[in-house]
Amino acid sequence: MSDEDTVEDTVEVAAATPEQAQPYAELGLTEDEYATIRGILGRRPTAAELALYSVMWSEHCSYKSSKIHLRRLAPTPEQSENLLAGIGANAGVVDIGQGHAVTFKIESHNHPSFVEPHQGAATGVGGIVRDILAMGARPVAVMDALRFGPADAADTARVLPGVVSGISFYGNCLGLPNIGGELAFDPCYAGNPLVNALCVGVLNHDGTRDDLQEAVARGAGNKVMLFGSRTGPDGVGGASVLASATFADEEGKSAKRPSVQVGDPFMEKILIECCLELFRAGLIEGIQDLGAAGVACATTELAAGGDGGMRITLDDVPLRDKTLNPAEILMSESQERMMAVVRPGNLDGFLEVCKKWDIEAAVIGEVTGDGLLTMTWRGGTVVRIPPRTAADGPVYDRPMARPRDLDELRARDPDELPRPRSGTELRQTLLALLGSPELGDKAWVTRQYDSRVRGNTVLAAPEDGGLVRVDEETGLGIALATDGNGRYARLDPYAGARLALGEAYRNVAMTGARPVAVTNCLNFGSPEDPEVMWQLAQAVRGLADGCAELGIPVTGGNVSLYNQTGGTPIHPTPVIGVLGVHPDVRKRVAAGFAADGARVVLLGTTREEFGGSAWAHVRHRHLGGLPPTADLDTERIMATVVASAASAGLLASAHDLSDGGLAVALAESCLRGGRGCEISLQDMGSSAGAGSASSAGDAFTALFSESAARALVSVTPGREDEFAALCDSRGLPARVLGTAGGSSLVVSGVFSIPLDELRRTWEAPLPALFG
């Protein structure tokens, strides 16, 4: 847009024209923020500086509303024992022993995925993969946690298939197995789907060779390299920026800039291989991926993390569109780009590797010693700022208020809902849950994902946790799960975060792995709404307390705010990812009943807990009461029991209980193993108090309550006593329910459902909706 003859807004021009009006509000800065910037610089910012501050100080990049709360997540020394990098790095890194370290992180791409589902979701995967790569790791797997409006809503038919095809297209083409994720539906996400993507990578960390990379620009004279795709107008600003006086040259003539970024997974794939080769050859001093806020963010963060300053020649940025001006170059969100700091002596080697992979690379500047980030364009200085002032951004302590409707919501007790009583009704209830989009088979989605590529996937969806082999010799592996439940968090955000943590932890534990670290994506409404801020603060507190109880650290994450339709925020939805270490993946445990005659055992305690349950949601579209109690002590004990039992070979299967409770878990273990079971509910549902153990009311609680910290296992035939003794020694409640085998799910005296019928019902919902 800037013609040769337009005068560029340089630092000198800015100093000489202090009164010139600037479109700070259109760029999303408040009057106070604008004044702060003027104060920092001692003059008005140039157009390029304004663009840079506006993106760096955006909620997305600066965490200005959430930072004050996120501080709670800082791990204690005890929690960070094996932490090589934590919050503040591109992604946290955990030492898993045997010379391996693992880095993982989850990130949102909610808004882009609503505008253009396919490309939005695809570039979401691309972005999180580059974060992992920037730590020096080879990305080895991805996961996706998805939430949409009602499954049968017209817009869901537009958004869901597009999001899934985008994740499939990008992840498959990158050669990263998709090992799991989530799929949930709720009217609260109708205008605002949640698309959270997780990536995990593995790096060497063995004393002789350490692949860990840092996002820093150190050493005056070192070169700043931009490599990968060319910079185009992708994602620049949006209408408000373009409508502004400064950014459009002539009324009406301003080229329309797209806010949609298009992903190029092939470029990302060769970029990954190129970076890994650069790391191996030791050619890089510091590296940063380009995500939101592109060159502005990468230069600022590298410079802010370094020991000097940085000088950039914007003319040297390889452009796809020659008409971009400095502000646009800085803000462009073109995908598949990385920035590295390279010693002059390594420059030739660096370029050689890039050439081998057919990756375009350019020297765009160098590290200086003056403490400033300086950028020039056509000979003029268009940016000169102290980089930390842009990288750190403001911190807000926004007002908080407990939601006015919370008491009313909690008073809406699920006890008032009509409960199934007879065996026939209970049978129907189970089939209705299994046949719902919420709880039905997710294969319509997961069949579009390659879960096998790289040949190390031991468990993937629909197992509780994904499990990936890291070392072929020893069988060392990593397990991952993501979980979140917006309904629970809506009823109680503190408990909701702990429940999500507990569930992800439990899912990882079910594979036989030991949970070791946490990442999280906090999806909330507008921070300017005090009720949303209260939810956020509660959820963060819940997560922090929960992690402390479990003794594992939060290693990183992402906050996505402004998730709302009109004035209505989504349910607060903290999505928690847990990483586990599996000592030997050959001893993994899966969810399906694997042996005829195996004793089926329920671990944990069942209480009458239906607030926010799948039953209330699917059968009655009801949300009220209190969510289940998060029992992290039991989660912890259960994880150690399952890990010991798995390594001793005591378990034929293990499956966590969550949405839909025991009934759904039983059905899933039957379907997954291709084997029925016969169980009895004698004495269950005890805390329902009086009433005889065999009454249908108790059967309902036993089957559909969603008490946390429970699991359904089957025991290797012949090892029953050992397993019982193990549970006993750890004080873990373990109730024998019956045995696996046969071709029906039989609950004695209540109902019997042939596997065929279960399977038909379970497989039906998504194909019926999406073809």
Partner: protein
């Protein structure tokens, strides 16, 4: 029976990795004079009745609703003899 052809191209400012890949392949094959490639989609529609305004209007509506993604693409109509 009439035939209408709908050409769908990415908007000029939208990144076209496919076109770029074809361009670099064509360079490797020695087609040095080709300086840019953009890849799009083409739909040949057969419509009941003559190639009149009504047929074109139907094609245009279909293109806008289904064939092109207005967020990133634009389309043009041609009527084939």
């Amino acid at each position: 029976m009439s035939r209408v052809i709908v050409d769908v191209m990415l908007k000029p400012e939208i990144h076209d990795p496919q076109g770029d890949a074809v361009l670099s392949a064509s360079r490797r094959l020695g087609f040095g004079t080709i300086t840019s490639v953009r890849q799009g989609k083409i739909f040949e529609l057969e419509i009941d009745g003559p190639a009149d305004d009504a047929a074109l209007a139907a094609a245009r509506e279909l293109a806008a609703e289904l064939l092109a993604n207005p967020v990133i693409e634009e389309f043009t109509l041609r009527s084939a003899e």
